[in-house]
Structures are given as C-alpha cells and as structure tokens.
C-alpha cells in the first residue's frame, strides 16, 4: 500500500515534468521568434567617410552650420581668423545637437548647457567626453569633411 503510494507519487512527478517541460519548450518556441523580431535590421550607413559640408562663401567668419555626415549631424565652423573646423555635432552628454555660439566663440549645447571649445574639448557643463574632430579640406570651391585617418 505504502509502496504503491510512493510509486504513484513518482509517476505523477514524471508526468508533471513532461507536461511542464513541454509547456516551457512551447513557450520558448513562441518567445524566441518574437525576441528576434524586436531587433530592428541593421541600417547600412551609406554616408561614407567623406562629405561636402558647404561651398566656399556659404559661411561668414565667426559662424557655424550643421551638415549631414552619414546619418548623423556634423558642425562646420568658420573661425574669425578664416580657418575651417569640423566636429561631430552630437553632444557626448545625452545626444542633443550642439551649435556654434558666435558670442562665446565656443560650441554650446542648448539641452543642458554643455560647452566645448573649438577643439571639441568639453570645458564646462555636464558633457563627459570631447566631440570627435573631423578633417577639413578645400577642394575647388567645396569644403570637404572627412573622418580623421587613424595614424
């Protein structure tokens, strides 16, 4: 009687394991495709490493403009002494787009008052890292911006 009881209990246990395991396996097979579905397919960045940011004469001295660099914005600045500079325009703090402030002669982020100098160094406010600096060349009347070559 007692032995039968133990036998029954172990059979019940085995059935529970099979049923539970089966249900878990089904659930996993429903969840796996859904989780994979959540991941957006990678967007191929067709921007390349080089872009025409402006034409000669587009910018007045001591001003800046936002240009498109691949899928992200860049900032092109013409200093008062006539030199071009190009940097990533994405603030390193929380990703807002920065702007050139002619009055401060610095780069300013409106979202949380972060300030970078013209070399992209984070000099004041919350930004944790400097802005990436790009190379600027003049080709004919075009201002060409490219990623710095790793040297």
């Amino acid at each position: 009687m007692c032995a039968d009881h133990v036998h029954d209990a172990s059979r019940r246990r085995a059935i529970e394991i099979f049923l539970g395991g089966g249900l878990l396996a089904s659930l996993a097979s429903f969840l796996y495709p859904v989780l994979r579905y959540f991941v957006p397919p990678a967007v191929t960045d067709l921007g390349g490493d080089e872009v025409v940011a402006a034409k000669l004469g587009d910018l007045k001295p001591n001003s800046g403009k936002i240009f498109r660099f691949g899928s992200r914005p860049g900032l092109l600045i013409l200093n008062s002494d006539g030199a071009y500079r190009a940097l990533s325009a994405t603030c390193t703090h929380l990703g807002c787009t920065v702007q050139y402030r002619p009055d401060l002669r610095e780069i300013w982020c409106a979202c949380h008052n972060g300030i970078y100098d013209l070399n992209g160094r984070n000099v004041s406010g919350p930004p944790p890292r400097p802005l990436t600096v790009f190379d600027v060349h003049q080709r004919g009347d075009e201002i060409v911006v490219s990623r710095k070559q790793e040297a």
Binding site: S26, P33, V34, R36, Y37, F38, V39, P40, P41
Partner: protein
C-alpha cells in the same frame, strides 16, 4: 515564494471571494459539449491577433507610399517578420471561420433562446465587427487585390439609398480609394474596432458567466426522462484544462499553417491599372459576392445591386434579432428556426463553394 505572493495578494484583494464563483461553476457535459469550445477558440485567436498586431505595428507604416514597402520590409528584412505576418493573416481567417462555426453551433444547439437573447445579439455584433476587421485589415498591405476589394466593398456601401453616398465618402476619406482611405482603415483596424470588440467580448463573456451554459433541448429532455444521465463538469480546473488543450491544438494548427503556407504579398496597388482577371473577395465575403453576381441588373424597377445590398442588410438585421422571433410556447412553432438555420448554412456554404469555383 509563489504561496507567499498569493497570500500577500489575497490579504489585500480577497482573491478567494473573486475566485469563489468559478469554483462552483459547472458546465453541462454531454455528447454535444465539444461545440462549446468554439467560442473559446475564437477568443484565443482574437488574443493572438492583438499580440501579433502589436508586433506588426513596430514596423508597419500606413500611407500609400510606404505601406506596401513596410510590409515587404517586415517579410524580407525583419527576422521572423514573415512568420509574425503569416500568423496574423492565418489567425484572422481562422478566427472568422471559428466565429461562424460558433454562431451556427449556437443556432443548432438552440442556445440563443430566452434568457440568452443578449448573448446572441452581442455575439452577432461581434461577428459583424470581426468581418469589419477582415475588411479593413485586408487593405493595409496596399496591394492590388486589396485595393480593388476596398474599391468594390466601399462602392457597395455607396449603393445604399439616401445615406449610401455619404457613407462611402466617410469610409474612403474622399470620393476615391486613396492613401486617405488607407489612413482611415488603419485607424479603424488598430483603434476603433479593437476597442469595440474588447467591450463587446467583455459583455458577451459576462452574460455567459452569469447565465451558465445552455443545455440543448434534446439533451435536456433526455435528462428529464432519465435524471441519472445528467452530467456536469467543474469549470475549474476540469473544463478549463480541456479548453486550454483546445487552444493548444488551435495554436498548433495555426503555427503549422503559418510556417508551411506563408501568406504572400502580391504586387503593390496601382490606381491606374485594370483589375486583374478572376479577382474575388476573401472567402468569408464570397457568399454575398456570389449572390450579388446572380441578381440581374434590373429587378422590376429597382437596381439589382441596390436590391441585393438591401436584401443582405435586411437578412443580417433579422439574423441579429433571431431569438426574439422564437416565443416561449413549446410546440411546432420552433421548428421553422431550425429549418431556416439549415437553409442558411447550406446557402452560405453552397454560395461560397459556387463563388470559389465560378469564373
């Protein structure tokens, strides 16, 4: 851990009281009880539709210039996107099928009788809404078939005397089927209809819970003659486990259909091409489509189309009100409803098959 959580919730919400009615609830058990499952399976498929619909919304973009491309993107670029869309399309068709099975089974088991008239009425409205889901969702991929189906469907609404024209313009968002129509249908499909259906399902289920399951008169008579034959099953857990098993089988059928027969996308809609030969509506509209095709263009002095559409609407309305035509008195008076039901079933199936085979 589980026990602790349960106790914690019970202390605060008195779960016991909430569950109590379900503990006492029983389901009559007889040779026809299996038909009870179809309502539950329809509900299950609706839940699947809500879940996969939300998933599709992650990538779908309404708009004449983007809709087709976004569905194409879901099917070709997004991982398992083809499967999710396929499940959504197959479950939609299965849901309409099981809703029809449920409707006819309720009819033949005579479960619509007093006091369950309201359950029938909410159920019929749900059936119409589900067909509305099918019609509005069909347009969303913005392919050629969908474009013409919507053109014809809304044109039919336009045939209704007096209000038809306004109704058609309302549905289309203008005089023609354009991107504006797609925007509207998208809104109906993902916001208006789900809201209405959820409310009606809640009412429908509340009525069912309140009144319990109906016993078919034939079985009831047998039980009265032989009381020891009466069988009941506890709803929880006995009936619920069976219902869940049915859901699991439905899931298996759905998964297999979606995986082995993925829904195709066809070609993008172009308002300036001719309708392709052999174009037909979805199977659940075929019986109406075929009826309309058979009516001559003029009957006496009325336009055939107008007559057909008014006839279909009237039939739908009478069907909705069916329980109110059956009076309480026992006797031969009731046989005509069964006769009518058999006629309706034969008509719907027959016309659908005829429509499917006809050129």
């Amino acid at each position: 851990m589980y026990a602790f959580l349960l106790r914690w919730l019970d202390e605060r919400l008195q779960l016991d009281e909430l569950i109590a009615p379900f503990k006492h609830k029983t389901v009559p058990w007889h040779r026809l009880s299996y038909w009870y499952f179809f309502g539950g399976i329809t509900l299950f498929l609706f839940i699947i539709q809500v879940l996969t619909g939300i998933l599709l919304l992650l990538y779908y973009r309404p708009g004449a210039n983007e809709a087709f491309e976004s569905v194409q993107y879901i099917m070709t670029r997004v991982q398992f996107g083809w499967l999710i869309r396929s499940i959504h399309a197959w479950a939609a068709n299965l849901m309409i099928f099981t809703a029809f099975v449920h409707m006819f089974s309720v009819l033949f088991l005579k479960a619509y009788r007093k006091p369950r008239e309201l359950t029938w009425v909410t159920g019929m409205i749900l059936l119409f809404l589900v067909m509305g889901f099918g019609f509005s969702g069909y347009l969303l991929p913005w392919n050629t078939l969908a474009f013409f189906a919507t053109k014809v469907g809304t044109e039919m609404a336009g045939q209704v005397p007096v209000v038809g024209k306004a109704m058609m313009i309302f549905l289309r968002g203008g005089p023609e089927v354009t991107g504006a129509t797609l925007t509207r249908f998208f809104g109906f499909h993902v916001a208006v209809l789900p809201g209405l259906v959820t409310v009606l399902i809640a009412m429908h289920l509340f009525f069912v819970q309140r009144q319990g399951m109906s016993v078919p008169p034939k079985v009831e008579a047998e039980w009265i003659a032989n009381p020891s034959a009466r069988r009941e099953m506890k709803f929880f857990p006995n009936f619920m486990l069976r219902e869940l098993m049915a859901w699991y089988v439905a899931m298996g059928v759905l998964g297999a259909l979606a995986a082995f027969f993925p829904w195709n996308l066809s070609v993008k809609a172009d308002p300036f091409i001719s309708a392709p030969a052999g174009i037909k509506p979805e199977w659940y509209f075929l019986f109406m489509f075929q009826t309309l095709k058979l009516i001559p263009s003029k009957v006496w002095f009325v336009d055939g189309e107008v007559l057909g559409i008014l006839g279909c609407s009237l039939a739908g309305l009478l069907w909705l009100l069916l329980p109110f035509f059956e009076n309480d008195k026992a006797g031969r008076g009731k046989a005509w409803i069964t006769g009518l039901s058999i006629f309706a079933l034969v008509y719907v199936v027959g016309m659908s098959v005829y429509g499917y085979l006809a050129n």
